[in-house]
Symmetry: C2
Subunit: 243 residues, 2 copies
DNA sequence: GGGGAGAGATGCCGC
DNA sequence: GCGGCATTTCTCCCC
């Protein structure tokens, strides 16, 4: 199959998305440098001039260029050379294409943004609205007071009016989560000039090492999972659960 | 355009890579949950049954499924429903396709692995072969001794036979890099039962906060950049630099 | 633009 | 499998 260079340039010009199936070799130079020998790949150039190169397996692109990259293609001795450059980022790529299997260009329209539930932020919102999940008598700070300490997930007083710092993790908490909590508790003690501040990790799981370190520091663990189920899923959600 | 369900199933069966341009709506449920309203997207199913869904802009897939996912497609009232499930991971996705713009299947062959230069590992290798980059008289530990402390990038003795722990960063070092170094120095002091261990951050840049914290802890900074330029690039490398 | 932290992070290598 | 950690991490938010 031949590649129509004029069609390629026109597609880029009108911000179409280009998808090329090809046999190619790739040289990259920028933050790092890489070389990838000849193999079959899918090349995607998006409307914002992001470039992605995918091998037949794996989640991540094997090579890529960021938004705003410029492209120039040329034919040289039966091969196509796609030169990619992102001058501000000092990133460059040369793609040596020896066979074209497919060429597609699509004018795509998509203004939708994803709605995601189950993030760490959703966890802290849940604890804010249900403080009893931490313990009876726990009272989170007001929104205004809390924003002054934006780096803390949940911040409040226990039933004895002792300050409590809560660090949420949506996955199994590790020792770095404990280090983070330790950093925040230290910071609050300094800022407020007080000696007694409690620290709590809220997460669905915690590693043995992290739990050990947590207890050594006099902190606590609460087994709490991030919320799920989009309200808007409605009956559709049931279908997803029926697999 | 119509989608040939038989062709789709056959492509999956023979581990071809499938690329579909379409208008679709996406429901996901697994580690988290998400909903994405109708818009134009590129759907890729790879040979290993990884699924990627890309919007017309941005580097990352807006939704995805991991390796080993199973697929079933059906037509319902002028729409196609692609149901995706990964039972072991408890991950599910429903893709409601209302228009097909393009359908491609490619039998891809690619056994090449990327060669990358400029990683943190390359930095520590460079320091091992040129210890003077740290300071005159620095002597890294032997390979055998070093592997016992695999978590440390570079480990050796200075000219006064004091132990030195070096943590490399390929980018600007931040306070987390300093915390990491602190953790390693502490661990080595415990393991060896000694009191004096030097700590050094080797990185091309370091943030002001990190440098302050580093000095407060009595550690040091060496401005060292990761190595670049693949030897095998040879003359090609020159071309990349000529942009 | 830098700093700080999350991510449905992923991927690699170790034990 | 989990743990620890790098990643051409990317992304978002906030100062």
């Amino acid at each position: 199959m031949e590649l129509d260079i004029a069609a390629f340039n026109e597609a880029l010009q009108k911000n179409a998305v280009v998808v090329i199936g090809c046999l190619c070799e790739i040289h990259y130079s920028g933050r790092a440098e890489s070389f990838l020998g000849s193999g079959d790949r899918i090349i995607i150039i998006k409307a914002d001039k992001t470039l992605l190169i995918h091998q037949p397996s794996g989640s991540n692109p094997i090579n890529y260029m960021k938004e705003g990259t410029t492209y120039s293609i040329a034919k040289e001795k039966e091969k196509f050379i796609l030169r990619c450059s992102n001058i501000p980022l000092k990133e460059y790529m040369d793609i040596f294409i020896s066979k074209i299997y497919s060429f597609q260009q699509l004018q795509m329209e998509d203004t939708e943004k994803i709605q995601l539930v189950g993030s760490e932020r959703d966890m802290s919102d849940m604890i804010y609205s249900q403080p009893g999940l931490i313990e009876p008598g726990f009272r989170p700070l007001s929104r205004e007071e809390h924003t002054k300490y934006g780096f803390i997930d949940v911040f409040g007083y226990d039933k004895n009016n002792v300050l409590v710092v809560v660090e949420c993790k949506r996955y199994a908490a590790d020792f770095r989560a404990v280090e983070q909590l330790q950093r925040y508790v230290k910071k609050i003690k300094e800022l407020r000039g007080i000696d007694k501040v409690r620290g709590i990790i809220a997460a669905p799981e915690i590693s043995a090492n992290a739990l050990q370190m947590l207890h050594d520091l006099g902190f606590e663990y609460r087994k709490i999972a991030p919320p799920k189920y989009l309200e808007r899923f409605g009956k559709d959600q049931k279908r997803l659960g029926e697999y």
